[in-house]
């Protein structure tokens, strides 16, 4: 019996494997079924697989103790066949790291290649736009590579608050202000109108719903089109939490927030009473400047 694999059979096996969703792993018995071969014809199958591997059309994946096969797209195979052996090794590790990416140091350790080779190969792969460098929020100093067409995962990018791995403070601050103003307008009647008087302020009754849920805040942000970022409730939750840390909102229930009166007092920058009060300080300090600041002594005299 002729055991040399025919090109026809190899192509057939490859196209059959590609019919399944990408990244499907096949065992040898599954491949036998796919080609409608008898178990005794395993040798023939191995021949076919070997020829596909040689052409970079199939790759071997070890899952547990079992060896499995994965079909590779023709264009991808062409890409790989143009690579040097070192580049191909590096590429396979980068590919395996998926959307998380892989650190150059890890690559070097895993491939056991010399630094200069690793760097040269990475440079070549990068210039061919096969891979790209991404900035990780967790490890800002590390050079992390991933496949060119992949989007970095949220762990790597840090979510909507990060731009190029850096916390976008201006964006966060402006959103915080918007969220606070929205919640404050729901918590206190007429709070942003000229009619609002701190000394004779109006309040909603105890049984009126003067708080906002995360859903309401998210709806407001989406409707007002302040940002092109796609935000989800969890993002709003973290914004609200920051506002709680700023003492501008208070959490009254799960995902329900109310503005604090202190935040309104700070905004209005006026004294509530003639007597000195510690809690008036923030507003006063901002508004007064100059001489008024000289009157304030907390830590200026005795800084330990």
């Amino acid at each position: 019996m002729d055991s040399t694999p025919s090109v026809e059979d190899s192509r057939r096996l490859h196209s059959q494997m590609l019919l399944s969703p990408s990244s499907t792993l096949f065992t040898s018995s599954e491949l036998l079924v796919l080609l409608k071969l008898e178990p005794s014809e395993n040798e023939k199958l191995m021949g076919l697989v070997q020829s596909l591997i040689n052409q970079n059309l199939v790759k071997l994946v070890k899952q547990g103790s079992e060896l499995k096969f994965q079909a590779i797209d023709v264009s991808e195979a062409v890409k790989r066949s143009n690579m040097t052996q070192d580049e191909a090794i590096l590429y396979s590790y980068i590919e395996a790291s998926g959307r998380e990416g892989i650190w150059t140091k890890t690559l070097k350790a895993k491939t056991n290649l010399h630094q200069s080779i690793v760097l040269r190969s990475l440079k070549s792969l990068e210039s061919q736009r096969f891979i790209k460098v991404v900035k990780s929020v967790k490890f800002p100093t590390r050079k992390i590579y991933m496949l060119y067409h992949l989007m970095p995962s949220i762990e790597v990018t840090g979510g909507p608050w990060f731009t190029d791995g850096e916390l976008d403070s201006e964006f966060v601050e402006s959103l915080l202000t918007i969220v606070w103003r929205f919640v404050a307008s729901k918590t206190f009647p007429q709070v942003f109108s000229n009619a609002f008087d701190l000394r004779n302020n109006k309040l909603y009754t105890a049984n009126y719903k003067n708080y906002c849920t995360l859903e309401e805040i998210l709806d407001f942000i989406i409707n007002s089109q302040v940002t092109s970022e796609e935000l989800i409730e969890n993002d709003i939750r973290s914004l609200a939490q920051v506002l709680v840390y700023d003492d501008k909102l208070e959490k009254i229930n799960v995902d329900c927030y109310r503005a604090t009166m202190q935040s309104v007092v700070d905004l209005k920058e006026e004294r509530l009473t003639e007597d000195f009060c510690l809690f008036d300080y923030l507003g006063n300090a901002n508004a007064a400047g100059g001489n008024e600041l000289d009157d304030i002594v907390y830590f200026d005299e005795r800084v330990l």
Binding site: V244, Y245, D275, F276, L278, Y281
Partner: protein
Amino acid sequence: MSSLPESAHSQSSESYLYTGLVESFLGKRAALVVSTLISYGKLNVRELSKRANLPMIPVKKTLVSLIELGCVNVWEEKTYKSETVYYSFREEGALLLLYSGEIITHIDERYGNDTMTQIVQNFLSLGNLTAADYVASFGAQDKQSIVNIEKAFTTLVNDKYLIPIEKTHYSSIRDVWQHTFQKAYNRIPKTSALSELKRNAEGKSNAQIEFLNILHYEPDNLFIRDRVTTHQKVNPEISLAFSFNRFLKVRRTKQLTQFCARRAGNVSSQIYKAALSHTEKSSPEVQDPFRLIGLTHEEIQKRDEYEPKQSQLFSAKDVLKLLPKGLVLKDSVLSGPPKRRRSNADEDEESSSTSSKRVKTETGYIATEGQNGENYDEEDDDDEDMSSANVNDFTTVDQHLKILANSALPFLKKHTNGSYYVPYPDIIDSLKINACDTIVASTLGGPCARILRCVRDNRLVSEKVINGSALIKEKDIRSLTAQLVKFNFLQIQEIPKSADRAASKTVFLYRINPKHSYDFIKNNICWNMAEQLNRIGELKLENSGLITKVNRDDVKGKEMEYLLPTEITQLKDLTDRELNHSVKINRLTSIWEIFKLL
């Protein structure tokens, strides 16, 4: 005469403040005695004279005035051989000196009665008095004046500003406790069935009741009926003193009212103030005597939950009676957003976005909010039904009390049948936390306060957690936390990750110890107060020539005639600077008391 040792200023912030206070009110010698007592604790006259480097006679003379003003405690220790009198520093007296101006202002504001203000003023400068002594000090007076004075005494004693005293009033609270405990302990028979531990615990539990009775001593004949007028009056023979603990309740009311105004609103705070004043007299002590003597939590046998007494409960009706006359309650509580004009009704914020809904992110200004204000129709607020002004006020007050009870901070708690009470321990804790945060925000900046709250919320956090939950740039976090650590607001906990505890592999986490932060603030502010006081002293010393001239009998009241133009300018400058320092002391005191006294 020996000068004040360096240790008077340097041994502790409080020593610096108290010696400064005593020096400015009673002179250098008294300050030296106080400083020595603070340094050494309990001393007898011989020891005191030796340590202070002063002869016995002036020490004894100084001690008399210090004891009278409550700045020194006396304790007689009897052994079978001898009897020794020990003296120790008493904080209350120094605090009375510090608050003397505030006390007089408060009494004047509260009663608006000169006689009462004068009585309290005399108590502050003389220590203790009987009503009879006080009346006698005026010499011959008409009957009506005497009746007025007696009435004033009765009111002050009834409101607990003046309290009857006995010998133990001048003793240290710790000595009184030790003595009471020893007596109670000795009364328990020594039997083999009772272990030493149990005997001790039983002794402490029995002594607690007796101890409280001594502290809240009130003789049966405190009030007597006047034979002529048949009115109740204070027994003229009983010695009275001003109660600092009662004044602390006034300060607590003030602090809580100010706190409430910034957390719940000004109108609610006025109602809260009325509620606090209503129960002030019977409210729990600001400083728990059992804590002052150093009993542990278990020994105090405190209930976990604060349970109010019947006299500490109040309802909207009680509060309504005490509200200030100028307070406008009408429309202070709304059942929903004020109505808008029909034409603009469709421009609701919650409706979908239109071009007018744009938000300018740079400034944080929201167009919709501005429109809201313009759209409110003030006249519509008057639509509510007015059946009776009083009923309306009652409902409004009740609504305010409900708002306070539902607030995120425990200003009020609901009891049965529409009555409320103030959960003092909880609200004081919140006050301290908020005051600490405000101090951090105003001195170290908003981001530091944000980190502080973040750490408090998460208990033990790494820089990564702060970065993720407080949304602060990682490179900024290190410098901000370093500042917070420097000022004792944060503490670092080391979590070693390798067996050799290598610093490079160790993770450092942040946590908060409130006691350390509060102690730091307390000491810091106290030192600042003392420093201001010291500056006033230095200022007076620098201008002593001018002050002597101004105080001369012939110059007094005729300064413009007798002083040179340069001297007048100098005097004006001196007064301004002194006033400036005094204002600073006043402000600092109002912050200090939150951490020190409440």
